[in-house]
């Protein structure tokens, strides 16, 4: 079942929560809504479930407008962050709750409980009460209870948030397996990037009441479209600059930060809408930064090794380049061969990625950008 949220606005008192929020979720996909705490992720999930009605905008489930439909009328299952298990009922009766409410026969109820208890590994705990279960077991009960009704869409509200690290890994794997087995549309909200990258077919980043980017995990990481997304994804090497001139996708940018003034060359063949004298934000991933003892003609700056963190076969090296901290991830074997007292940082021109959303102001350029986005299946914010 596909889900579409169109132009959603919602205010609580004077405080706007959603400000023209749009969200496309394809049928059968595992969609993660990722954002920092306090950005309205849970409110968004409750809006999709029907607990909160938007002030404006429409919600479609499989093409049907369900904006005004009650919670009971939407075929949506919800797993709560704090499980919300019924404390007076056993695991069996918790799972059976929704089925009994639907008036299912005893035989059907038992068949479904057997099926979903097996999927979630709860067969041995059916007679226990929630108070006697561990966090992971409670999470499984909450999942089995929501799955037993066989909803078309499953909503998960930070389902791993209250579990310890090893349990998080275990349940993460189980969620992936369940999605694979049942092939249902799942929307999962979290602030945890690892969780999102592991589970998601697509990730939407929520910020200031909007979905600012919807992308596959890989695209999101390597091609963030704004400084916020880049910073949130943990990308450290972000530059702000002004375009000096552009000749055949070779963009000269003047960058100034602290004592650092430099003209960098960026090779950006996929971005046709660069304008002279416009400001631009761009980033370079740490693994694409080259540390060397050789001085290149362009994009090469002297640096001072500030901090070295061992990371498996790699070193994460923090280099101070005239007051600007640059992170480089280099293989240990390569780094050990470098003379640390005479380090140059080299940025290959083709390794930069511009953070869209700052330069495309003219209508003509916007149109070009939209065409480009359509071609490359990138949804622009």
């Amino acid at each position: 079942m596909s889900i579409r949220l169109e132009h959603i606005f919602k205010k609580f008192g004077d405080c706007p929560v959603f400000n023209d929020l749009n969200l496309p979720v394809n049928a059968g996909e595992y969609h993660v809504i990722l954002g920092p705490s306090g950005e309205g992720k849970t409110v968004l999930l409750k809006t999709i479930a029907g607990f909160i009605r938007p002030d404006r905008g429409r919600i479609y489930i499989h093409g049907t407008d369900v904006t005004m439909a009650s919670v009971q009328e939407r075929s949506v299952g919800l797993v709560f962050q704090d499980f919300a298990l019924f404390p007076h009922l056993t695991v069996h009766d918790n799972i059976a709750f929704g089925l009994r409410a639907q008036g299912c026969s005893k035989k059907t109820i038992n068949l479904k409980i057997d099926k979903y208890a097996a999927i979630t590994g709860l067969a041995r705990y059916l007679k226990k009460y929630p108070a006697t279960l561990s966090g992971g077991q409670k999470q499984r009960v909450a999942l089995a209870r929501a799955l037993a009704l066989e909803p078309e869409v499953l909503l998960l509200d930070e389902p791993l948030g209250s579990l310890d690290t090893s349990l998080q890994e275990e349940i993460r794997l189980e969620l992936k397996q369940i999605h694979h087995e049942l092939n249902m549309t799942i929307i999962h909200v979290t602030h945890n990037k690892t969780e999102a990258f592991f589970l998601a077919d697509n990730i939407s980043i929520i910020h200031k009441g909007k979905i600012v980017q919807t992308e596959t995990p890989e695209q999101l990481f390597y091609k963030p479209k704004s400084s916020f997304v880049a910073e949130f994804m943990g990308i450290t090497n972000i530059f702000d600059g002004r375009i000096v001139r552009e000749i055949k996708h070779n963009v000269h940018v003047h960058v100034a930060a602290n004592e650092y003034h430099e003209s960098l060359l960026l090779y950006l063949p996929k971005f046709p809408v660069i304008e002279d004298n416009e400001s631009i934000s761009f980033c370079i991933h740490p693994e694409k930064v080259i540390l060397t003892n050789r001085k290149y003609d362009r994009n090469c700056l002297p640096g001072h090794v500030f901090h070295i963190i061992s990371n498996g076969a790699m070193f994460d090296v923090i280099i101070d380049v005239m007051g600007h901290q640059i992170k480089a991830t280099v293989p240990k074997t390569v780094f050990n061969r470098i003379d640390k007292d005479d380090v140059f940082v080299y940025f290959p021109p083709e390794s930069f990625h511009p953070l869209c959303g700052k330069t495309h102001r003219m209508p003509e350029n916007k149109r070009k950008c939209m065409n480009y986005a359509a071609d490359s299946r990138i949804i622009l914010s």
Binding site: H88, A101, A131, A146
Partner: protein, 267 residues
Amino acid sequence: MKILNKNKSVVFNTTFIVLSSIFFTSIVMIVLTLAFSITQEDLRQILETSRLVTAIWLSIKTSFIVMLITFVIGLPVAYVLARKTFPGRALCDALIELPIVMPPLITGLAILMMFGNDGMLSGLRIDIIFTQKGIVLAQLMVAAPFFIKTVRESISAIPENLFEAAASLRASRFFTLRAMIIPLSKNGIIAGLILTWARALGEFGATSMVAGCIPMKTETMTLAIYMSAMSGEQGHANAMALILTLFSLFFLILFKSTMSKTNVYQT
């Protein structure tokens, strides 16, 4: 430092044990005073006096009827006050609790004026004044607020996410009430019923105002105790008071045994 803390703890525990003991001893003394003030002859006479047996039976009957009616009417009222927001909810809340703070005599007077000759509801032609229906109505008005208040608190204490979980499992409101709200409010409901029943059983002011004290017809146990004490039959009054006390204690223990011992929200 440790010794100082230990001393403080001993003082704290001793103070609480002494104060609790004084309170419990007072209650036990009341029961013992009643028990030692009656003779076998007094008890025999009461059980042979049909007027007094009728009074005991009438009190038991009306208090249980009041408890039943309170459950049927009070539960929806408590639910609405706990879960719904509507204009004037605070006023309704205050009105429900008004009979708790108002002297029962005033409640009885109001009922008398409503159903008496030329009263607002006299046109309904329901025999309330000087009847057993009047006793039930008077006891209900005085006792039901205790149930509503207790159950409302219990329903309010149910975490909101459980209501949301029930709705997300497509449970209707009635199913949620039956399968979630009532079981989770069980202790509150039982406590509310105990308070209601006890208040109805011991009701005096409103009952005497509405139903009077007609022997064999509207004379309840409390009215009979009062009448006996006033007419110098101290032995009868004491014996009935003891019966009422023991009867209350028996039902309290019975009700309380059905309450859950654990905190239901401990998940």
